[in-house]
């Protein structure tokens, strides 16, 4: 805590960079996961393979995954960003697929029978009802991403990980504590906010 009181702006700036990294990675991850999740929901035969592959990636330890991307992209922002996007796919795509699968088939039959196009069935009927489950997936993914993003500090990236890894190098416990506590507070706050969103979306 002493580091936080002596360098509040430094911690705040790194926290802001941390949030920015996770937010941008999450937006990109959502754009990738949405078609994958819809595909998994539409093609029951493809679903186990697709989700299985994403699950396999998810089981790779994050540090090992990051090492692969450092090899590919060099140090800096890119490896941690790509690792976050790929890591989140399993949780996001699975929650989209589960949300759509959970919808009563009669509603989809009625929607088609009344003359909705495939896109209208998805956006007007399926997606709104899958949203609470989907936001649940975003919540789990966002928390994991906040934690994993700290590894960015190790590979020359930005965020609160910088404090943790610099602290380790410099034997400055106060820095390590400040970085970890700030990341934890961030995760808890995001969790609470998305939990509330989820509750507001439920019917």
């Amino acid at each position: 805590m002493s580091y936080l009181s002596s360098h509040p702006w430094r911690v705040a700036a790194l926290a802001a960079a941390h949030v920015e990294l996770v937010a941008v990675a999450l937006v990109v991850a959502l754009a990738v996961a949405l078609p994958l999740g819809v595909l998994a929901a539409r093609r029951p035969r493809v679903a186990p393979w697709l989700l299985g592959a994403l699950g396999a990636i998810y089981t790779i330890p994050s540090l090992a995954l990051l090492a692969v991307f450092v090899e590919a992209f060099g140090l800096g922002f890119a490896p941690i960003f790509v690792a976050l996007v790929i890591y989140a796919q399993f949780m996001l795509a699975r929650s989209i697929a589960a949300g759509i699968d959970g919808i009563d088939r009669a509603q989809v039959d009625a929607a088609r029978g009344l003359g909705m196009s495939a896109a209208q069935v998805l956006w007007r009927v399926e997606f709104p009802q899958a949203l609470p489950v989907f936001v649940g997936g975003i919540r789990v993914a966002a928390i994991a991403m906040i934690a994993i993003a700290t590894l960015g500090g190790y590979v020359g990236g930005v965020g609160l990980g910088v404090l943790i890894f610099n602290g380790l190098t410099l034997h400055q416990n106060a820095m390590i504590v400040a970085g970890s506590v700030a990341a934890s507070v961030l995760a808890i706050a995001v969790d609470a906010a998305l939990r509330l969103t989820q509750r507001l979306l439920a019917y």
Binding site: D104, Q107, D109, A110, A111, G113, L114, G115, S117, Y203
Partner: protein
């Protein structure tokens, strides 16, 4: 709008990965404004035949025409918007209010806000529900009978020229079912919409039909006026079916209809 005529011509349907045809070589004409009931046990192909009209089921061979137009040549989405569709499980959209559910097809067709609102209230009144009390309800806050009434309102909202009903009253209790049947007779009578109604309930068929089409194993056993089917069953199966259970009500309807016809 003038009611549509529907024509099935040598219609055969086989589902992918199934050995037996769901529907075999069926030909049938449904005149404008007629209420035809497809009657038969589950698995006889009656729902499949119904769903060929709005192209929810593709044909193996043959053709289905609405007003002389081959449905295979029409745009499926446009076709479905012009034909009402009601199913047993209702399928009201849980993310929408009652009013939004009823307004689905009119809003897909791009009606303006004021016309849609007026139409929703008009339909709620038609099905005997107070618009002020029901307009903003969620489907989860409705009874089975209310939900099915709204399912019917949603199907007729954009004044379709034909109405397809797939065991619409199968899941509600007998008191509600009788009330819904009475309302349907009144509504269809007012609108003069061509209606194909699928059921396995023999009494329901006799109560509603202008013409009954008895189906079995994907084929038509007999098609005719209720009185003729009852008096003169074409096959042993039809005879067995029309006398199944307690047929006292059927006899009563037949007698009443004959008396009405005589006057």
């Amino acid at each position: 709008m003038n009611p549509a005529s529907i024509r099935f011509q040598d219609v055969t349907v086989r589902y992918a990965g199934v050995q037996r045809n769901a529907v075999t070589d069926i030909s049938l004409e449904v005149g404008g404004g007629e209420l035809v009931v497809l009657l038969g046990p589950s698995g006889c192909g009656k729902s499949t035949l119904l769903r060929t009209v709005n192209r929810l089921v593709p044909l193996q061979s043959g053709r289905v025409e609405v007003d002389g137009n081959d449905v295979a040549r029409l745009d499926a989405v446009e076709l479905r918007r012009s034909v009402g569709y009601v199913i047993q499980a209702v399928g009201l959209f849980a993310n929408m209010t009652v009013a939004q559910n009823i307004a689905v097809v009119p809003s897909l067709l791009g009606w303006n806000r004021r016309d849609i609102d007026a139409r929703v209230d008009e339909l709620l009144q038609l099905i005997g529900l107070d618009p002020a009390a029901y307009r903003n309800r969620r489907p989860s806050a409705l009874s089975g009978g209310e939900a099915q009434r709204i399912g019917v309102a949603r199907a007729i909202a954009a004044r379709p020229r034909a109405l397809l009903m797939d065991e619409p009253f199968g899941a509600v209790d007998v008191v509600v079912r009788t009330a819904l049947q009475r309302e349907l007779i009144r509504i269809v009578g007012e609108l003069r919409t061509t209606t194909i109604f699928v059921t396995h309930d023999v009494d329901e068929a006799f109560r509603l039909a202008d013409r009954i089409v008895v189906m079995r194993e994907g084929r038509i056993e007999q098609a005719g006026a209720p009185f003729d089917v009852f008096q003169d069953p074409a096959t042993p199966y039809v005879r067995q079916l029309v006398h199944a259970g307690d047929d006292v009500y059927r006899r009563y309807y037949m007698r009443t209809r004959e008396l009405l016809r005589a006057t």
